[in-house]
């Protein structure tokens, strides 16, 4: 006991120890916890020379660090703030899919073909969800995919979507969708612009480029080995016929776009009326081609602006309530409001260019790319779906 007591007495009285011990402790702590990374520099032999020789740095070759492998395999996975999903994969699992047996035919429902409904969601509209739920296509053949931007509005949309999805998927088994995939974009994404700015010509290119990016991210993350059809349905499409999928698949077209209209209250006639909304469904015109040929490489043509008069025949104006709803028309550009695509078109590589592709961008560029891949693009001028009316907020 005596030496111990003597030692503790020394500790209490000696000033030098008072100062040095905490400092040493701190230095030790610093080195063990914070400085560690710098010491585990990569050592390796490159071209018969130790790395330090090449880098003209000198580490003593007899230290234990000297022979560390080239790469450190210490796990630096941030376990606290990370919501990485570690996939649980069955042991020895080898999945085998024969894509030769995958078809998209006009009798989609009878042949049990799976359809993937994709929606970039910036705002959750209850009407959209209710419309989705009233579709008569068998739900076990429907997969849903959503992507939300990384913004506070995206948060709101996600929260609302979460509640809605939760309700349906926890319901009776036969009422559930076969699969729902919800993605969060990494970037601020496609809704950083307010409603007013949204249609200004200057911001169109940027807006549609980020929209194209969102569509691609959603598409290539969700399209699977069972998918036969892909239906692009915008989050603000709030009214479609209940047999939408059956009607559109029956045409058996590679790319088929419905005509997007909007219901509104006509102040003059004092009654409810409809008006065309989506002008991205069009046929190419000579004027349009001529305009494109004079443009610089990174310029785009967009429809519906007085600055660019293309004189393209727009599908929106071909609507005639007296004609058959099954009437088709050939298109060169499509919009994304409600467009049905055979999965093989996307699988062959047709995507939404986020850069000017033949001076076209997003869905219009997609139509062009599908045509480059020898697919035909069609529209249904008399088959109407309705866009929500934008209230002036």
């Amino acid at each position: 006991m005596k030496p111990l007591r003597q030692f503790s007495y020394r500790l209490r009285t000696s000033r030098k120890i008072h100062i040095t011990i905490p400092i040493l402790l701190l230095v030790g702590l610093y080195f063990t916890f914070f400085h560690g990374n710098r010491f585990s520099l990569d050592f390796n032999i490159v071209n018969g020379k130790w790395v330090n020789e090449n880098e003209h740095t000198d580490y003593l070759p007899f230290t234990s660090k000297f022979k560390l492998p080239r790469f450190s395999y210490k796990n630096e996975h941030n376990w606290m703030f990370d919501d990485h999903v570690d996939e649980i994969i069955p042991e020895g699992h080898i999945a085998h899919y024969d894509l030769n047996k995958l078809h998209s035919t006009s009798d989609a429902a009878i042949n049990k073909e799976k359809i993937l409904i994709l929606t970039p969601i910036q705002k959750f509209h209850q009407e959209y969800w209710e419309n989705l739920l009233q579709l008569t296509y068998p739900r076990e053949l429907i997969e849903l995919g959503f992507i939300a931007p990384r913004t506070p509005t995206g948060d709101q949309a996600l929260a609302a979507l979460e509640a809605a999805v939760d309700k349906v998927q926890s319901d009776k088994k036969n009422q559930r969708f076969s699969k729902v995939t919800i993605l969060r974009q990494d970037s601020v994404g496609f809704n950083k612009l307010t409603e007013k700015e949204r249609h200004a010509l200057e911001v169109q290119k940027e807006r549609r480029a980020s929209m194209a990016l969102a569509r691609n991210e959603l598409l290539f993350s969700t399209i699977g080995p069972h998918t036969s059809w892909v239906l692009w349905l915008d989050a603000d499409i709030i009214e479609t016929p209940a047999s939408l999928i059956q009607d559109m698949t029956a045409h058996d077209r590679a790319v088929l776009s419905a005509n997007v209209f909007q219901r509104y209250y006509d102040e003059e006639k004092k009654q409810k009326a409809i008006r065309p909304y989506d002008f991205n469904n069009w046929q190419e015109s000579d004027t349009g081609l001529e305009l494109a040929s004079k443009m610089k490489d990174d310029e785009i043509i967009v429809e519906g602006y007085a600055e660019i008069a293309t004189y393209r025949p727009l599908m929106a104006y071909f609507h005639d309530p007296d004609n058959s709803v099954a009437e088709e028309m050939r298109l060169d550009g499509v919009g994304g409001g409600c467009t049905l695509v055979k999965a093989e078109v996307h699988r062959d590589g047709a995507m939404f260019p986020n850069f000017p592709f033949y001076h076209l961008i997003e869905t219009e560029g997609f139509a062009k790319m599908a045509k480059r891949l020898n697919y035909e693009v069609f529209g249904l001028p008399n088959y109407l779906v309705y866009h929500i009316e934008e209230k002036n907020v």
Partner: protein
């Protein structure tokens, strides 16, 4: 005692403890803010403590790279059939193997049964954590037993004793695209075949890529099976460059008669003025392919930039790339870049993938001094030459065999007695005085009387006896020994 009564020390226990607490808090805060994690066991109590003391650090150290706020994460844990992924978590880190980044390993296969064992050997030796590697194969238009060999190899890989050697998710896709051209080296590499062939291969790659990629993949690695030599650390070597798309240099070994080694992959190049001019002169659906004299582009190729002593870390900007070994961030494919199956800026497949990715503002990089080795497959000319060489070798072998046979026949049919003659001549001559010193005339008794020659031939007889034991055949020859041998007879000139 002296100290006790002296001036008060600043270093009282109270101050020390206060300073200590402050410092500890500071350290913990720093620990928290930096992404440095020191294992769960040590960190858990520390983090709990720091949560109590400094809750502000919690929100500021959110893992999301851009936003200060923590993005909303919906909870679908108990909802069947619903998945949520924050793509921000799967953008690809440069030290992905330390951060649980999953790789999608894509392999297009066609009549590849013979290469698969070698491929799986490489795969098993890879140092990237195997459980983070998801394998996906596309088997198309195969006439050999590619599927069977693939399945048995996969089963072996997944039933290994060492669990850490097993791979993640495995998916095999089958899709036939219809074959336009054969798969032999010359079929595939002939000039005319290139355009349609590249477009078809692009379709195959796109089908594989689009169905295989999942939201949780951070990286995508495209690999051909017929790579002979590849570093085990290939993933880490490419990944730590932190580029969107990166390819190594691809060479192949050659037989000696072709000069040992040769650049293989000429699809990795930088765009040149000549290339752009050529592209402008072609029609919309034309496909430029590198490495053929028909299209002289004068582009700098990655393959020719190789210096065996160069730094393997050196990078080079590329416009078109080859498909032997491509590592790319999954976000490249997720953003829509793919292998165009149409003529994109007058290119198709992997070369157009490079161009398209650059168009979408991703960086495309090649490593000129970091080389992997493709197998050597002989072309039709090579095969002809090799057939000729084999024929020649066979012919030479036959020739030597015949020569040996002739020699044997000669030996059996004709007894070589020259040696005997030499020794006999020596034996005879040594007893003869050639100088004629004694004035004596040399007299030879040619009569047949044996007794007369006996004395001078005694020595010779002894020699004969000795030799006859060695060469029994010689006896026969000696029995009819020619008697009239002239002294100046030289058997060598016979």
């Amino acid at each position: 005692m002296k100290y006790k009564n002296g001036k008060r020390s600043i270093v009282t226990p109270t101050t020390i403890s206060i300073a200590g607490t402050l410092l500890t808090l500071l350290l913990l805060a720093k620990l928290f803010i930096s992404n440095f994690s020191i294992g769960k066991i040590i960190a858990l109590p520390i983090t709990l403590l720091s949560l109590i003391f400094s809750p502000s650090s919690f929100s500021s150290s959110s893992s999301s790279s851009s936003a200060l706020f923590k993005a909303y994460v919906p909870n679908f844990r108990n909802v069947p059939g619903v998945e949520f992924y924050d793509l921000g978590n799967y953008q690809g880190n440069k030290d992905g193997w330390q951060r649980n980044d999953r790789i999608l390993f894509c392999v297009p296969l066609r009549d590849a049964a013979e290469h698969l064992p070698m491929f799986f050997d490489h795969l098993n030796k890879m140092t990237y954590p195997h459980n983070l590697i998801d394998l996906s194969f596309l088997v198309s238009d195969s006439s050999d037993n590619t599927m069977g060999v693939l399945l048995s190899n996969l089963q072996n890989a997944q039933s290994q004793q060492d669990r850490s050697k097993r791979f993640g998710n495995i998916e095999i896709f089958e899709k036939d695209f219809g074959q336009i051209i054969g798969q032999s080296f010359s079929d595939r590499h002939g000039f005319k075949a290139q355009g349609p062939r590249r477009k078809l291969m692009a379709r195959a790659r796109n089908w594989l890529g689009s169905v295989a990629i999942k939201p949780y993949h951070s990286w995508v690695y495209w690999r051909d099976v017929d790579v002979e030599t590849i570093p085990r650390t290939i993933m880490e070597d490419l990944m730590h460059h932190d580029k969107d798309v990166i390819v190594p240099n691809v060479w192949r070994p050659l037989p000696d008669w072709l000069g040992n080694i040769q650049p293989y992959d000429l699809n990795s190049w930088q765009e040149s003025e000549g290339g752009l001019q050529l592209a402008n002169s072609l029609d919309e659906d034309a496909v430029i392919v590198e490495g053929y004299p028909e299209y002289a582009t004068w582009r700098p190729h990655l393959a020719y930039m190789r210096d065996p002593n160069g730094n393997p870390e050196d990078e080079m900007e590329l416009n078109g790339i080859g498909g032997v070994s491509i590592l790319s961030k999954a976000k490249v494919f997720r953003s829509g870049s793919h292998f165009p199956a149409f003529s994109f800026e007058k290119h198709a497949e992997t070369e157009a993938f490079g161009k398209l990715s650059r168009r979408m503002n991703f960086n495309v990089i090649g490593l000129p001094h970091y080389v992997i080795w493709h197998i050597y497959e002989p072309s039709k000319e090579d095969l002809k030459h090799m057939a000729w060489m084999a024929e020649e070798e066979k012919r030479k072998l036959e020739e030597t065999r015949l020569l040996e046979l002739y020699d044997k026949i000669w030996e059996i049919g004709f007894d070589d007695v020259r040696e005997d003659w030499t020794s006999e001549r020596d034996a005879i001559l040594k007893n003869i005085d050639l100088t004629g010193e004694n004035g004596k005339k040399i007299e030879v008794d040619w009569s047949d009387d044996p007794e007369d020659n006996q004395a001078p031939n005694a020595q010779l007889a002894q020699n004969e006896n000795m030799e006859s034991t060695e060469n029994p055949q010689g006896d026969i020859g000696r029995a009819k020994y020619p008697k009239e041998v002239p002294l100046e007879f030289d058997p060598d000139k016979n």
